[in-house]
Amino acid sequence: MNTHLLHLENVTKTFNQGRPNEYSALRGISLDIPAYQATCIIGPSGSGKTTLLSTIACLARPTAGRIYLREKPISNLPENFLAKIRRSTFGFIFQRFNLISGLTVLENIVLPAYPLGLPQHKLLQRAFALLDQFDLKNRAEHRVEWLSGGEAQRTAICRALINDPAIVIADEPSANLDSALTAELLEIFTQLRAAGKTLLITSHDPIIHEAAAIDMRVEMRDGEVRSIA
């Protein structure tokens, strides 16, 4: 049996099925992703990195093939179960921070925990622990529009961590960052990995995928895995 955290078998994803613009973004991907390590998916734009990531992270269901999370098949679950897994297992750091404007830092951070129906004080306790850890405590009640780039980034990371996910997903996290922020981000990734998280990152930014913190590199091209190193 397979003891990897994530195990993909022949995963394909086809868009616009049966229509003239049908396009297969993933063509039979088989892959194992080990726990407690940082894996980076690299490849040119359009090679299917983002699609792979969203399929793994239960944002979209594969058209065919199987995905196992801790040996449990998750590829053909209905949406409510996918959402459950998504919120308990995955934390997301998006390309643009994707914070919801108009809400405060604190409100943004607790959003993923909202459907859990936790009691208020527990939620706040968790949130403040994270804010403390990421040096945002005095920003808690600020609207997110007014944050600096670094603060916004840390808010996004706090939000990804509020439900204590085992796997942190980051899609092109450095695409909109200057080099100082990228360095800070790498630092945080190292910390997270040390704290026992599994990292799954896509990037074609050499600063990220050449970093020492990355344990495994998966190279993709045209929806297929080219090489694993």
């Binding site: 983002t50 699609t51 990531l53 969203s54 944002l59 979209a60 949406e79 409510n80 959402a83 459950k84 998504r86 919120r87 308990s88 997301f92 998006f94 390309q95 994707n98 919801i100 108009g102 809400l103 409100e107 959003l111 993923p112 909202y114 459907p115 939000r159 990804a160 439900n163 899609d171």
Partner: protein, 362 residues
């Protein structure tokens, strides 16, 4: 939730239109209900049976000797002849109801008038009013009293005269009345009494109070229904408006829903949030609309509606009713406004809620 408040601007126009609609509907409902109450109040004091004489199918004067014959019918406790008629006043282009009465202590050429007449002709006690009698000659009448009864609805256009003056004014002979009224001892016997009257005096038609009440009720219901039907058209427009509002999802909102779903929300969580949002808008609009209508009807005497529902009558009655809340009416109003709104927004809300979460990754 907080996210609703942020889009205040977007919801504001909806809220306004919504409140206006509730306000209009509630005003109509409250107003007709109040009118109906008034009418019932008035009819409560009216006689149990009115007997008219029909000649060739038309209402004709009834001979005074019928009074005696009716008094002999078993169960009838009291009989009285009434004299009344209409008078068209070309000065204000309105009809007055002229009625004879013996118990106001009116002398010949003295009258008591309803508040509506007093208002339009600007009369006070002691003033003189000149009307043309049946022979076309002017007749000058002195206002002895102005009537301010509990309900103005039926007495606004009323003018009371002494019976002698009345007969003189309309040139009606002594031995006849306009109609006769009866009182019956036992309400359960009213139908029996009416039957006997028709048997004894086949040229008469008895009219029962219960019949009048019922037809009043039906007429008011019907009017109210008609107006509601018109407002339903407005409602339809509103529903289309709400649908449009709900389905016009901005890119910003789509992105937000995408984010929420990506970070672990489920379609039903988004649905729930959106339905709450709709519920809050609905309840706010409903409550404020109803309260406004309530104030409008009961504190300003329906300033905006009066001309429409009562017809453009010159002598329209002014009336103040005691404020009250009828729960059936509140429920009806709720069904009329909140339910169609909810239905109109359900599908757009669902469409928004199924936004693909992986859209935010692109």
């Amino acid at each position: 939730m907080a996210s609703l408040l942020r889009r205040k601007g977007k919801n504001l126009s909806l809220l306004l239109v919504y409140t206006l609609l509730v306000f209009l509907l509630a005003s109509v409902l409250l107003y007709t209900q109040a009118l109906r109450k008034e009418a019932t109040l008035v009819l409560a004091n009216s006689p149990e049976i009115i007997v008219q004489r029909l000649v060739a199918g038309r209402h004709a004067f009834i001979p005074a000797q019928y009074l005696k014959q009716l008094g002999d019918v078993r169960g009838v406790t009291y009989t009285q002849g009434r004299l009344w008629g209409y008078y068209y006043d070309p000065v204000v282009k309105a009809n007055y109801t002229l009625m004879a009465t013996g118990n106001k202590g009116l002398a010949v050429h003295e009258i008591a008038i309803g508040a509506g007449i007093a208002r339009t002709r600007q009369l006070t006690v002691g003033d003189y009013l000149s009307l043309r009698n049946a022979r076309g000659a002017p007749e000058t009448l002195r206002v002895k009293e102005i009537l301010y009864p509990d309900s103005e609805l039926l007495s606004a256009d009323l003018m009371l005269l002494n019976p002698e003056s009345w007969r003189q004014f309309f040139a009606v002979p002594q031995a006849v009345y306009t109609d006769l009224t009866l009182a019956v001892r036992n309400p359960a016997e009213i139908n029996k009494v009416a039957e006997k009257i028709v048997q004894r005096l086949p040229d008469t038609r008895p009219i029962l109070k219960s019949e009048i009440l019922r037809s009043y009720d039906a007429v008011f219901s019907w009017r109210e229904g008609l107006v509601s039907l018109l407002l339903s058209v407005a409602l339809l427009a509103f529903v289309i408006f709400a649908w449009d509002k709900a389905s016009g999802l901005s890119a910003e909102e789509r992105r937000e829903i995408g984010i929420l779903k990506a970070i672990g929300w489920e379609t039903s969580d988004v649905l729930r949030m959106k339905l709450w949002e709709g519920a809050i808008v609905s309840l706010t609009a409903f409550l404020s609309g109803y309260l406004l209508a309530y104030a409008h009807i009961f504190f300003t005497s329906a300033a905006l509606l009066t001309p429409i529902l009562k017809g453009w009558a010159v002598l329209y009655p002014e009336f103040h009713v005691i404020p009250y809340i009828d729960y059936l009416q509140v429920a009806t109003l709720f069904f009329f406004t909140v339910v169609p709104y909810a239905v109109a927004t359900l599908i757009p809300i669902w469409k928004a809620a199924i936004t693909d979460p992986d859209e935010v990754m692109r």
